[in-house]
Symmetry: C2
Subunit: 333 residues, 2 copies
């Protein structure tokens, strides 16, 4: 569990795209971000107050979150200087970088001397159990997709936001690095050892109030040959009551797999549901989340109308048009 | 890669069941076992020559394989004495125990001093790639199951033996601890990190001669909620041309999951095939391997006849009646 609120470290980000993690925190948990820390030459701006480390501590920030992808995969000397100072000022550090904080001996030494925590959210810090398949109380909704990176995290976050806006009980459950940094907690599922994947998802979504919904961030796709095992573990460990099928209509082939066509929505619906029923016979597909970011307003509306007509369930782009339809469908379960 | 041949260490095995690994080596790779080493009180017997460490070295043994499950999950002082002597006599050590050899500081010290290897086959020793889904040359057959421990390893081993008996090109590809110790090589799939599972299976079954078959050991089941992710990775990483569906008809619930009924053969056939076609559109289900060990001769024959009639494909117990039918079916692809 990472202590909030955060100071978002943008470093010397070459552009806003490099600051995807910081953007996610700003968009989804603005209350978690008291300000941003930018170095000379930084081209990203979250439109948060620029703060020194001292100012951010005074404003209550507990953790410096590296909100930017590093160049060349290494923590530069310029970054390191700020990170060491932050530990000395009393910040914990949190990072989703491949270059782990714990592999930097100087950071480890300073963290030990100052009693601060280094959070590498890319690697698990918990010994997860093997899944036992026992039915849990509370409700769970899982986003599954035709492909990787089609909007499963955004769909779960949009639904969680809409649930909370309606005064309903909901928790977004992060299963990837960005999601974990946004919420301060979760399971880095792609880094979990095979035998414990489904168990880690059970651990993440424990017994809860009967009217509480976990909105579980999906990963990969049953139809993506590199990562389908991770998706499978989510479907069984998550024990979902509801599935939302996510899709990006302009994608020409599976991400990173030229020659692999995307499956139809119908096929994903049928196979995911059949497998989900193993863990929860009452599971239903409740709607479709279509990522229309590369489509005109007209094309997007036409596509959504076609999906609704063809598949007989609500379809929307929850980021563009809101998650009302999907949350309405959940309420009907 | 573990150096063969082996001396099989049976320790103080309380019974033959505890020596499952040794039995597997004796049954499937007898040429890999020059003899057995038994301590006082050992109740297991592989009907191999009893040898001292010295005699086994003289007979050509390169590796002492721990062929027995240890009591209480720890390497006892009595075992340790033999293991240290074995290193000093020039043996490598290989083990599938949960208690890793590498976690025993004295063994590590002696291995370093003597230049010998410690093989813990329960943990991966390779940095596996992420699966790329690129079509590979050669053919692959994967055993999938209705449940865990229904005979997937034995099916693959039986088929491999029959292929070799016919002079056909075949390799058994181990994906679990016992299989790895039997063959000296493989991937401990349940211990691989999620993102690399499918890639490890691609790595295990590389390009090969057009008429060569990999007989891939299956793991878990798409319908076993604890381990289905591992099975999924095998189906996609393995790119199988042929699937054999394995089943144990007397099982009352999924292994370790009271309340979970086994899926029908039809459902496993349909779902596994649909998912296998993602990686290899030409994949076919070629037959059924039924584990009849708990059935009378009459019941077994009746069950097999019923499966053949109902499902229209060859069905046999390959361990009890031979793998001819299944290998015939492969040859027809």
């Amino acid at each position: 569990m990472i202590e909030t609120p955060y100071l978002l470290f943008l470093g010397d980000a070459p552009d806003s795209l490099a600051a995807k993690v910081a953007q996610g925190i700003k968009d989804w948990r603005p209350q978690n971000a008291v300000g941003q820390f930018r170095m000379e030459g930084c081209k990203a701006d979250m439109r948060l107050p620029d703060m020194t480390l001292e100012e951010a501590r005074a404003a209550g920030a507990k953790t410096l979150v590296i909100g930017v992808a590093n160049r060349g995969g290494i923590i530069s000397a310029a970054w390191k200087k700020v990170l060491v100072q932050a530990l000395e000022e009393g910040f914990d550090l949190a990072s989703g970088l491949h270059n782990l904080l714990r592999d930097e001996l100087d950071l480890v030494a300073v963290a030990q001397a100052t009693g601060r925590q280094l959070h590498d959210v890319r690697v698990p810090s918990v010994q997860y159990p093997i899944a036992n398949g026992v039915k849990r109380t509370g409700k769970r909704c899982l986003a599954v997709g035709t492909d990787c990176s089609v909007g499963k995290m955004y769909t779960a976050l949009c639904m969680d936001r809409e649930m909370k806006a309606r005064g309903l009980k909901s928790s977004f459950r992060a299963t990837g690095q960005t999601g974990i940094l946004i919420t301060g907690d979760g399971v880095p599922l792609d880094a979990v050892i095979a035998d414990f994947m489904a168990g880690s998802v059970e651990w993440l979504t424990p017994d809860n109030d009967a009217d509480h919904w976990d909105m579980i961030e999906g990963q990969g796709s049953l139809f993506h040959v590199s990562y389908s095992g991770v998706t499978m573990a989510l479907i069984h460990g998550g024990q979902p009551d509801a599935l939302v099928v996510c899709h990006e209509p302009t994608r020409e082939h599976m991400r990173g797999l030229p020659g692999y066509k995307l499956p139809s929505l119908e096929l994903v619906r049928d196979i995911a549901l059949e497998l989900a029923k193993v863990a929860n016979p009452a599971c239903q597909v409740i709607g479709y989340a279509i990522n229309t970011q590369h489509m005109s307003e007209e094309d997007a509306q036409a596509y959504l109308a076609d999906v609704e007509k063809r598949l007989g369930l609500p379809a929307t782009d929850p980021y563009r048009y809101g998650a009302d339809k999907l949350v309405d469908a959940l309420a009907a379960i």
